[in-house]
Symmetry: D2
Subunit: 136 residues, 4 copies
């Protein structure tokens, strides 16, 4: 298992492009927060779809690392996302992941995605990661 600090440090060194901040991790779950600025917006004053996909992907990755420890080569094998409501252009995007299954070589989780401080989700994703054999 990896702590919030260990995962934050790992992301900073291995994924320097990553903008998501780890807010919580543990108990087969994770919460990450992605600030929204110029790079994240699209026409209509809303957050772009790929930003929300990225948040879903990172939230899943963090929840899994929280359970299995730092295994960098754990990779996404599938992601399914539904966009539910227009996100706010001036609020961070929050991803809340709950793992549905953590097997030896496969992990599946769902991620609810919010505009920070707004109750109803803006998107919902389900994703699968492959865990390298022998790493747990």
């Amino acid at each position: 298992m990896a702590t919030k600090e260990e995962i934050t440090e790992f992301l900073a060194s291995a994924f320097p492009q990553n903008k998501s901040i780890v807010e919580q991790v543990g108990n087969a779950s994770a919460t990450v927060i992605h600030p929204v600025g110029f790079d994240e917006l699209r026409p209509g004053g809303t957050v772009s779809g790929p930003v929300m996909m990225t948040v879903a992907d990172v939230a899943l990755y963090v929840a899994i690392l929280g359970e299995i420890g730092i295994v960098p080569l754990t990779v996404t094998t599938s992601l399914n996302i539904n966009f539910l409501r227009k996100p706010s252009a001036d609020r961070s995007i929050v991803g809340v992941c709950k793992l549905l299954k953590l097997g030896r070589t496969l992990a599946i989780g769902e991620v609810s995605i919010y505009s920070q401080g707004v109750a109803e989700p803006v998107a919902h994703a389900v994703g699968t990661y492959a865990i390298p054999p022998g790493s747990r």
Copy 2:
């Protein structure tokens, strides 16, 4: 209907963050190319999942605009992606979209994603866009 030049110009002005280049559009299809550099890589010497999701999203958007003209508020409602093989770290990512259905308010398409010059796809996506009522 919008041409390759019109869509390229629209993307440049409305999505200045976009890196994908429109290679082909028309006949309910589109091909876009996304260069791969530091920002696109992740541990293990491979292209990050969100880059491929972004390419799938843009390829779909371009294919739809090619049919319905420039309708900026056409937005993604769902995306499902499967990652099939490890992309090359030193090749651009190419997305080839074919629309499966173009309705009045909904468009669905599939996108095959490649490392440029490699025959087997690295990912496959299916996505849905909502078209604002009255725009076609």
Copy 3:
């Protein structure tokens, strides 16, 4: 809005092939139970995938009808399902749906699928229904 009794009666008359029993409906949610017998099993002593897909589809339909009333032409537009664990061959399949969004013409919900009496889900689905314009 439709009650459990109204939906049960409607399913019996309009979907005579349906085997799922409505256990609960209301508050943007529904629970349905599908008995498991010869028709539902497959090699390996487990419940077939299509049975679980059917339960997901029916649970969503019931949750939506519970909110919008009996609108028979409400139809599935997409379904994504992940199979998590082997279901028990001698327990009913239970589908618990929570709606994520109920718009004027589109509803999205997630469904957790269980072998009755077992805590961990055997599958998880997310589906979308189109509601005929003007029916709400």
Copy 4:
């Protein structure tokens, strides 16, 4: 590898409930045909969603068995389906599967689903099967 005859015989003995007929198998592809009668219809004079999901699932299974031989415990791990057009109530449902990837323990394929004799697809699915380790 398994032939059309071997797969047909296997389905008849292991899945006696199966109604899909194997029309073609080989070259990482398969075509199956499912007759449409009372059991397959739903209100509005159309084929029920679960029938199309079943056809997608069987077409994938047949395409995989065609490549790896009869491995009964190969099981679906995910399925994503989009419904595109209303199927005809008086035509069989045809599923045409092409495998996107055939790995040692995972196979992914896409399935186009038609009302027999109609050019435009009624649905499109992408699914994943897990192949038991050691079986290929």
